[in-house]
Symmetry: C2
Subunit: 363 residues, 2 copies
């Protein structure tokens, strides 16, 4: 392959795959070398990303498939639902796509989650390739095989664990990312510090300006380290029985915020940013970390352009939303907390304490 790029192997036995990180990958036919060729190559994307990179990608794929087609979904978390997913199935069936058809997910986390779930379910499984175009998707959806759609009663409630054949994280796509989305992606990068690598937290603090200015070297390093940590965690716990839950640091609060506000009001990463501030506060109130850790993370979240206080919503619906969180067991709320700088764990938490944290961070 021409052009410099970094490569990271995700080791999952026969489901192993590579993440390539570099500039201009989407337009390079060689970046797809070794992937299966078949009659149909179906690019699933959204109406924001399609005009930016759709043709570019179609040219790179032209020699791989007799027919390269696009399914363009409406952009946004609000459309991560069954009717939109079904548009992918409608297209695949209308074109008589067989089980060798390769799906390409070109877009952010929503496109990746939906395309992955469509690939998991179509004819009980067809191959797919992730082409994440947001920082959040590059650090978060690249590893772990989580795919899903939302249900009116809960986020990501219907889904599958399903691995891509390859991930291409093209750094050039981050140049067109709106500032809010860049910040949202940084939330997931920052997350890896408190839960797994205090040195990385220090590196992010030192390089946050470069990241905010989208310097490719800094972004490449942030993406690589995030994916490495996530791969290490997921490699030990592919189906989320235990350790993997730490990746949900900030997410129980975050998902509740998204559910109560209505999907699409705050970006997922914004909700996670705020959620991490609440989760470190919860950790401090459990006596696990000191106020210095709370201030340090809060400051970093703020510098990354993310909210550190709750939106104007009542605590009751937030608690209710947390009750349907996938980590809840036998009705008991459970949270990922920081047990010491760079180390996290899952704890059952008294509801009263959760209410205190919500009150302390009310809008």
């Amino acid at each position: 392959m021409t052009g410099p790029h970094d490569s990271l192997r995700i080791d999952l036995g026969e489901r192993s795959y590579d993440i390539l990180i570099g500039r201009g990958l989407l337009g390079r036919a060689e970046a797809f070398d070794g992937l299966p060729r078949s009659r149909h190559g179906i690019v699933v994307t959204n109406d924001t990303v399609a005009p930016l990179y759709g043709e570019h990608l179609a040219r790179a794929l032209a020699a791989r498939h007799e027919r390269v087609e696009q399914v363009v979904l409406p952009d946004g978390e609000a459309h991560k639902d069954w009717p939109t997913l079904n548009r992918i199935f409608d297209h695949l069936l209308a074109e008589a796509c067989d089980r060798k058809t390769v799906l390409y997910a070109l877009g952010g986390g929503v496109v990746g989650d939906m395309t992955g779930f469509a690939a998991a379910c179509y004819m009980r499984g067809v191959p797919f390739v992730q082409l994440p175009t947001t920082l959040l998707a590059q650090v978060d959806s690249s590893v772990g095989g989580k795919t899903a759609i939302n249900h009116p009663a809960g986020k990501n409630m219907i889904g599958a664990f399903y691995q891509p054949l390859r991930v291409l994280a093209d750094l050039d796509t981050l140049a067109t990312l709106p500032p809010r989305e860049l910040s949202a992606g940084l939330a997931e990068v920052i997350k890896y510090g408190p839960i797994a690598d205090e040195a990385f937290l220090g590196w992010i603090e030192a390089n946050l300006d470069a990241l905010m200015q989208r310097e490719p070297e800094a972004l490449a390093r942030a993406i690589r380290r995030s994916c490495e940590i996530k791969a290490w965690v997921v490699g030990q716990d592919e189906r989320e029985a235990g350790l993997r839950a730490i990746l949900n640091f900030g997410h129980t609060f975050g998902h509740a915020i998204e559910a109560v506000l209505g999907y699409g009001q705050w970006l997922h990463g914004e909700a996670v940013g705020c959620g991490m501030v609440l989760a470190i506060e919860l950790s401090a109130r459990l006596g696990l970390v000191g106020d210095a850790e709370v201030r340090r993370l809060t400051r970093l979240v703020e510098r990354a352009g993310l909210p550190t206080r709750l939106p104007p919503v009542a605590p009751e619906p937030l608690i209710e939303a947390m009750r349907v969180d996938k980590k809840t067991e036998d009705g008991q709320l459970r949270f990922v907390v920081v047990e010491a700088p760079g180390r996290a764990g899952l704890r059952a938490v008294d509801e009263g304490l959760v209410r205190e944290v919500l009150a302390a961070h009310a809008a």
Copy 2:
């Protein structure tokens, strides 16, 4: 466990499970020993089966779960669709069911396929137990882990490979089975003869009257041998890359008949019965078997109360429906054919020959 029953181990590594075959299993609490206990046990069933066995089962489960609840779906293949599947998700979310919730599929193949797919997708996977109440489900859905729903454009197009924790094939439930459904189940039993075991074909011929009269010993043996053969095939090819396709003998024609007639007109087993007659005819026209084999299988299908001629539909829509079959590759029709008595294989077949077979069996 009290009471005699037979047991068959399906060996799939960490996803291994047992099939218990016997009388009165649904009402025996011991038949569930060793399965996970959790807060919620959700019985998914249909409005035909619920009044017959719902309470019976609920009593057997009472000590295993704090809450045992029923989701009652409308009966029939016509409801094997997304809106009906979503009723399961609605219930699970309304009751705040967590990922330790156990789903119990109480009913025929439709209930099993939908419950299994719901279990595969809810929170990306919760455990489930198969309690098949039709002969077809006992021989066909017990092994293989295939779950799915239909799409308006094709049968079983949206689904997953997902294994149950256990299967209980309660022979007593076959006593209430309508005669058409018994015949439909026998179609899948008969199938195992031509594709894998000529001696079993002879045994079925000799015992068909006992099977039609629902003698438990004959049924138990037919179910066990069918499951054994299927397990042997699936064990070598869990994800349907090759050998497993032979289990679809008669199904390419059968699915096309169902799709063109509209789901629910003919039972799946009836369509497969007719489909097998067409598939053995195709095998003969390919020079693989003689006319004696065609006559032998046709006669047995007929004795089992199954159709041996096509319903009154034109060939064109049947061909079109076959084109979206999951075995189709790069636009070429492929069929499971009998290559010699007791041995089957997958062949690409010329469309002209398929048309000849359709014409020879037109209504």
